[in-house]
């Protein structure tokens, strides 16, 4: 038995928990220094968790999105930056695994991801597009067999640490802004000139710096399907679900800290209910709401998977948007409750009940693809789409 097959013989949860334990040990340091969560990511690679969503015939384990979401939730409880980096990587993997089928270059690339445990970043945002993923200014130029692209990418999360970047652009220099393709560029096929520094309140370890990306590669590295299809059917839903899962993890860890605070207080004054206890019960109910929201979304995604009509339906987009809005807003309420429960011990850094990192990391949730933009899109769809009022549908 090889070392790799010994690891993959273990359950996914066990492997994720082992990686999470390492990530947790560096979470505060990663946050303070605003550096890449290299220990957590190395641990995920050591557990061979990078390519598990890829089909077995290309070297993966063919696991579904729900299992990936569970790993994100486990990591979210340990180190949000590791969890977010892992989630963003898996969003790219989901697109590749489902939308690059039949392309020999991309199939061989998936094999490499599994063999070498490669980390894939994405460059979708661009100066001048107003934060809309489905809009590109830059265009890829295919000259014979070579494709060239220059992109003023306002954000490439963990760009300097990735082994490859999936980049969106217009299909050709005369294409409309929304007529996009995605291209995979390997590390030795691009240069990154840093244009901005990611010095933020939270999610500091994702190192989402800005870069001018200049890339050149064989044209076969352009994904065969239009980006519009990938975004609508996979990327947006997978993002909302995996982010929701890791945000749940952040809130779950905050609740665990608050619970142990209440328990400690109860031990000190036997027979007396500590003042934060009722609030803990409220927070627990809210955490369950977040979990139910994510799980219901994952179930719906699983039901629709592979059915392009179902994935393209407006009702599906509305549901996925609602998962994002609901989870991102509710976790802030939960963490705020936990802060009130733990009081100064939660407000202070360096105590077992510190919640500053959780609160700051969680604040990114409503900004990553702005909630106002999503609410705007949902409200447009609700002009014609009726809300699904069935309980089980």
């Amino acid at each position: 038995m090889t070392a790799a097959s010994k690891i993959t013989a273990l359950g996914l949860t066990e492997r994720a928990k082992r990686a999470a334990k390492i990530a947790a040990g560096f979470a505060d340091k990663v946050d303070i220094e605003g550096r890449f969560p290299s220990e957590g990511m190395e641990a995920l690679k050591a557990e061979r968790l990078m390519g598990i969503m890829i089909r077995p015939e290309f070297g993966g384990e063919g696991v579904n999105l729900t299992e990936i979401a569970d790993i994100c939730a486990i990591l979210g409880q340990a180190c949000a930056a590791t969890a977010m980096t892992y989630a963003m990587h898996q969003i790219q993997i989901a697109s590749l695994a489902d939308y690059a089928v039949g392309s020999s270059w991309h199939e061989a690339f998936q094999k490499r991801i599994c063999d070498e445990q490669l980390l894939i970043a994405s460059a979708t945002s661009e100066a001048g597009i107003g934060g809309n993923l489905r809009n590109s200014i830059c265009a890829i130029e295919v000259d014979g067999e070579t494709a060239r692209l220059t992109k003023d990418a306002t954000v490439i999360s963990y760009g300097a640490h990735a082994d490859a970047i999936m980049v969106t652009s217009r299909r050709h220099p005369d294409a409309a802004h929304s007529d996009q393709v995605a291209t995979v560029f390997l590390k030795d096929q691009y240069t990154l000139e840093q244009t901005s520094v990611w010095d933020t309140l939270g999610m500091r370890g994702t190192c989402s710096d800005g870069y001018i990306l200049k890339a050149e590669a064989p044209g076969e590295q352009i994904l065969p399907r239009p980006f519009a299809e990938i975004a609508a059917q996979s990327m947006l839903a997978v993002s909302h679900l995996l982010w929701g899962a890791l945000w749940y993890g952040i809130a779950a860890d905050a609740l665990a800290r608050a619970q142990s605070f209440v328990k400690g207080a109860a031990r000190k004054s036997p027979g007396q209910m500590p003042p934060g206890a009722l609030r803990l019960a409220e927070a627990s109910s809210l955490l369950q709401l977040v979990k139910a929201n994510v799980v219901a979304g994952l179930k719906q995604f699983d039901t629709c998977k592979g059915d392009s009509d179902a994935l393209n339906a407006m009702s599906f987009s509305v549901a996925m948007n609602n998962v994002k809005i609901g989870t991102s807003q509710t976790i802030l309420t939960i963490i705020n409750h936990c802060m009130l429960i733990c009081g100064i011990a939660g407000y202070k850094n360096g105590t077992p009940f510190s919640l500053g990192r959780h609160l700051r990391d969680a604040h990114s949730a409503q900004l990553m693809i702005s909630n106002d933009r999503i609410l705007g899109n949902t409200s447009t769809m609700l002009l014609v789409n009726k809300q699904d009022t069935s309980l089980l549908g």
Partner: protein, 82 residues
């Protein structure tokens, strides 16, 4: 019907190109139709034909081309008449 669809696309589609330059079977999203604009066109069609788009037509495919919109409308109108 195609002409009505084209007129409404010109008015509400907010396309970066003239609608006359887009063929009946050409992909409207590739031509620059946004999701927001497609809903506006849908509302205009509902008004024009006095119909309501049922759930099964509320997807990208029904709005992917002039021909696709025509096919969807024909089916809705047929069902309404039945």
């Amino acid at each position: 019907m195609k002409q009505t669809i084209r007129t409404l696309l010109a008015k509400h589609g907010n396309l970066p190109v003239a609608i006359d330059s887009v063929g009946d079977g050409a992909d409207l999203y590739d031509a620059g139709l946004s999701s927001f604009a497609s809903v506006q066109v849908m509302l205009a069609l509902e008004e024009e034909f006095d119909i309501e788009f049922p759930e099964q037509f509320l997807n990208r495919k029904s709005f992917s081309s002039v021909e696709a919109i025509e096919a969807a409308l024909s089916e809705i109108l047929k069902e309404q008449a039945a």
